[in-house]
Symmetry: C2
Subunit: 324 residues, 2 copies
Amino acid sequence: MRVIITGGGGFLGKALATRLLQRGHLSADGTDERIDRITLIDVVPPDGLDDSRIAQLTGDISDQRLLERAVDAQTTSVFHLAAVVSGQAEADFDLGMRVNLDGTRALLEVCRAAGHRPRFVFASSVAVYGGHLPPVVLDDTPLTPQTSYGTQKAIDELLVADYSRRGFVDGRSLRLPTVTVRPGRPNAAASSFASGIIREPVNGEESICPVDRATRMWVISPASAVGGFIHAHDLPGERLGSNRSISLPGLSVTVGEMVDALERVAGADAVARIRWQKDARITTLVDTWPGTLDASRGRSLGFPQDDNFEAIVRAYVESREKGR
Amino acid sequence: MRVIITGGGGFLGKALATRLLQRGHLSADGTDERIDRITLIDVVPPDGLDDSRIAQLTGDISDQRLLERAVDAQTTSVFHLAAVVSGQAEADFDLGMRVNLDGTRALLEVCRAAGHRPRFVFASSVAVYGGHLPPVVLDDTPLTPQTSYGTQKAIDELLVADYSRRGFVDGRSLRLPTVTVRPGRPNAAASSFASGIIREPVNGEESICPVDRATRMWVISPASAVGGFIHAHDLPGERLGSNRSISLPGLSVTVGEMVDALERVAGADAVARIRWQKDARITTLVDTWPGTLDASRGRSLGFPQDDNFEAIVRAYVESREKGR
């Protein structure tokens, strides 16, 4: 198998590549096949992935020529994770359209040109939902996104569905919950605090929480997100039918419950490092996303799910200790 | 008011221009204002619109330079009707994407660049619906189009909504039922027969019906469609809120009921001119569209509605006699 990961320099892309290298195989149409090559595409080359199966391409995913160099007749699998994050796509409309819409379309086009219908796993987001949402969002709740990021992801899902229907790719769009705990530094995602309020206190640093304790979020661990990408790849197309968009099973937790879990794992000292300082811009963006989804389709398709938020915090603390 | 009509050379665009010339005014923010100029953009220049207020631009709506010449700081109103029809967008994927997606985006971009948030009335379609539909499709039934045409229209609606939310345009997307009876000749729309099985028999010609009598369709007369465009333009934005997509009230009729209405208006001789010759490709496309919608939102917003299909046939016969 020859695999492409866009956004391969990012945290999730790197975690996916690492897991694929360990696993050594992917399945297409029911049979496991060895992974020969993983090409990572990103604006920043990833570090620390030292393996002869890894190739790297540095550049912008809206650059069609770069993509033409990456995808060829041997490419079996594309994991499309590259994106401009929510806060940035709201602040810079043109950048978001170029990367999140034109980039996805360019990638679908080179896959189509390759002519052999590669597997195409697309990282969508619960930000495709918005506006007047029911208390529990269903897989088939209509998409009325209230952010440019969510709009671009919803458009990409429509493209993945039509390119799949026409036989240009064999696509799967995963609506990702907010991924937490991400390591590293805060980023421009409106949801960045969902990692920050756990990560920084565990690391002995202050963190600002820009939303209320009552804010409800739909979250997933990095491990379950990566597991979801691989599971989506290996699922036979006939199990999906014409509906190529799947909500990954997440956990519905309030920010208060997240902080309580932090206290149980890391103590009151850690919690005391959180500064509650409401930010209207971030609150507005986050409030447009659903806090609870019915992910029964994703569960019935066998996607992995986290047990509870405390387990997510513990997994982060352990990975941090291992990384030392 | 300075008005742009894309697809201004087509039947609906010309009918809209004619009605606007007769009416003489449009409303923005509650006050009627005189129409000074109507610019028609189309690949084919329209004939028979002899009025000093009419200007014409010939070219492709995905040509950004052409659009820049058309839309300026004086443009108050854009009616975007230009499109590659359903059958053609299915047969030629690239053409559909270029005109139906890139063209709409280019037009939204020049409106945004104009900087004063013009009214933007977009002709969408019930083809945005598809797949496993409920017996009665609601305004908020999720969009899972099963044609490239429907996919492109659904993407355009998402763009119109986000451009409106960001204040780049003041947009309204109308989901048009199948418009019948269109004068002229058959076209590449999969729904072309819905006009043909009335028009040709009335004109003493044979017509092929490629679907069963039981096929249920959601239809609207040209007059109600044109009335809908103008009503959508004049509606104050606050009545729409963040939901900028509206299903126009149509009639739910089977092809058999359409033919029965033809018999009542034009006699059994006319009906005998229909040849029933099933076409699998057209049947497949048409069957993905909803036959019955709940258009209560459109009705409560005051959009015009046809009384019954017989009245639509009679109106066509009368317009034909007047045109002689």
